[in-house]
Symmetry: C2
Subunit: 301 residues, 2 copies
């Protein structure tokens, strides 16, 4: 494998990973299947959105691959690289989001992306990561999630974890979105071959990071109380995605298929005015003990 | 009344109007009461949020007055007036949003605001308007709404209606948010006294525009189908408010109390992947016949 950035290689890997994740989620759900339909994107790209709704355990999941091509970079993509404004580009990305039905099972999100501007000196980078958003805190889940992340990101874990805590922060609420994970952007360290290996290591870890947690929590008994709390907290997810997330802003500006861009939104979300959970409740414990960045790998189960 | 811009006069009017609207909505609901609590805002301002939840007919309503003072204008407020950046300012605003429980009753939103930068030559303007978002279309409701708007805005109706159609547009969906109404901003025409009279005419029209429609629809029989459609369409409302609305962006940036800024969000909202209503259904008729700007006053009931 040469060190020249190769979009086809990245594309093949991300589509394989997408297929693997879809198969694993259908097994986990036991009942529902993903809607599978491909769409061409402008100038020879392709979108492969895969969405599952109303499953037995998964209320909604979206696992999407997109190979986008454009003649002119939109503003959201060039804010940090103004010299690229207006140039043709290619991007390959795979994203996954799972909104389980059971409030004791966390929402998970992961994304891997490769960006390339072809020229004599190609400009390229990788970005991505994965983060977890529980509705009820379980230390053993958080430790498993972060231990898997650390194994995958290896010596970059500490930096990527900090990036993640910083990125998935709901500024206007002064709240973390979840318990974090790893996040990186503009990544070129060691050249294409080395970076792509890291991306594969992280991508391959996604099912191992999440599926054991989903299995452990998907049959937990719950009542109206837990469901209400889940819907309320999903409102925060909506707030982050629509008002803060750079990826969503880019999607809304770039003219991508809107149902793909917004497939990450939860199936149902609630807003309650001026609500705080009761003192000493597990709902309050989520806010106080889990939605505050910490070194999970130093915690006791 | 002099023609010097007078914040106290505007404030007194908006608080009276807020009280009137609260009383009228409690009568319409017959059961629920507004939560009433005042909060000081920085440098001697005040927020009077009033929120009603889980009523018999009103699932959520927020009627809020805010007198805000600041030492330095935030970016969202100065985009169109860059020379004001960083100057101290005052703003008085009253906003109302009603999310009825019955899917046949439309969501309504109205806002009136006055902005003032004190100096030897005071800089000031009024803004505001009202718009209606039905889930099922009724021509007689749309005609009543727009006829009331026209009576209130008089010779400015055509311009304000066009402003409203342009402002309440969900760019990424290529859809109108609702059937419009009136909207204006940076309004100083005729000086303070004349402008304030227009604002009062529009403010006084709010209950007459909405309450007859709410009364007419609040007891309509409905089933799961209509409720699902309402929750799905409320998702669009969330998308507009969080991703597009200038007022919300300003609120999120200016450090205002976040529960007030986001009190407009619906109590419950849904997203369904790649959903379209059935051909020939009343849900499709909403999209085709109502969410496209038209001259409602030329329609037949």
């Amino acid at each position: 494998m040469s060190d020249i950035p190769n979009l086809d290689q990245v594309k093949a890997y991300l589509i394989d990973l997408q297929n693997e994740l879809i198969a694993a989620l259908e097994v986990a759900d036991t009942r529902a299947k993903f809607i599978q339909q491909d769409y061409p994107t402008p100038i020879g790209g392709i979108a492969r959105p895969r969405v599952l709704e109303n499953g037995l355990y998964i209320e909604k999941a979206a696992v999407q691959f997109t190979h986008g091509r454009g003649n002119s970079l939109p503003p959201a993509a060039t804010a940090r690289n103004p010299e690229l404004k207006g140039r043709p580009y290619e991007a390959a990305s795979m994203s996954i989001i799972v909104h389980p039905l059971n409030p004791y099972a966390p929402t998970m999100h992961a994304n891997l992306r490769f960006f390339l501007v072809q020229s004599k000196q190609p400009f390229w980078y990788f970005g991505g990561g994965f983060d977890l958003t529980p509705y009820y805190g379980f230390t053993e889940d958080a430790i498993h999630w972060h231990a898997t992340a650390k194994k995958a990101a290896d010596r970059h874990y500490d930096q990527f974890k900090q990036n993640c805590d910083e990125y998935f922060y709901i500024t206007h609420r002064k709240e973390a979105r979840g318990i974090g994970g790893i996040f990186f952007d503009d990544w070129t360290e060691g050249g294409f071959r080395e970076s792509f290996k890291l991306i594969q290591s992280i991508g391959n870890a996604i099912p191992h990071a999440y599926l054991p947690i989903l299995e452990r929590r998907k049959n937990t008994k719950y009542s109206h109380r837990e469901r209400s709390w889940q819907l309320y907290r999903r409102g925060r997810y909506v707030e982050f995605n629509l008002a803060i997330d750079r990826g969503t802003k880019y999607g809304l500006q770039s003219g991508r298929r809107i149902e793909s861009v917004l497939a990450s939104l939860p199936p149902l979300a609630a807003w309650k005015y001026d609500y705080s959970p009761a003192e000493g409740s597990p709902e309050e414990a989520l806010l106080n003990d889990y939605l505050t960045p910490k070194n999970w790998l130093a915690q006791k189960k």
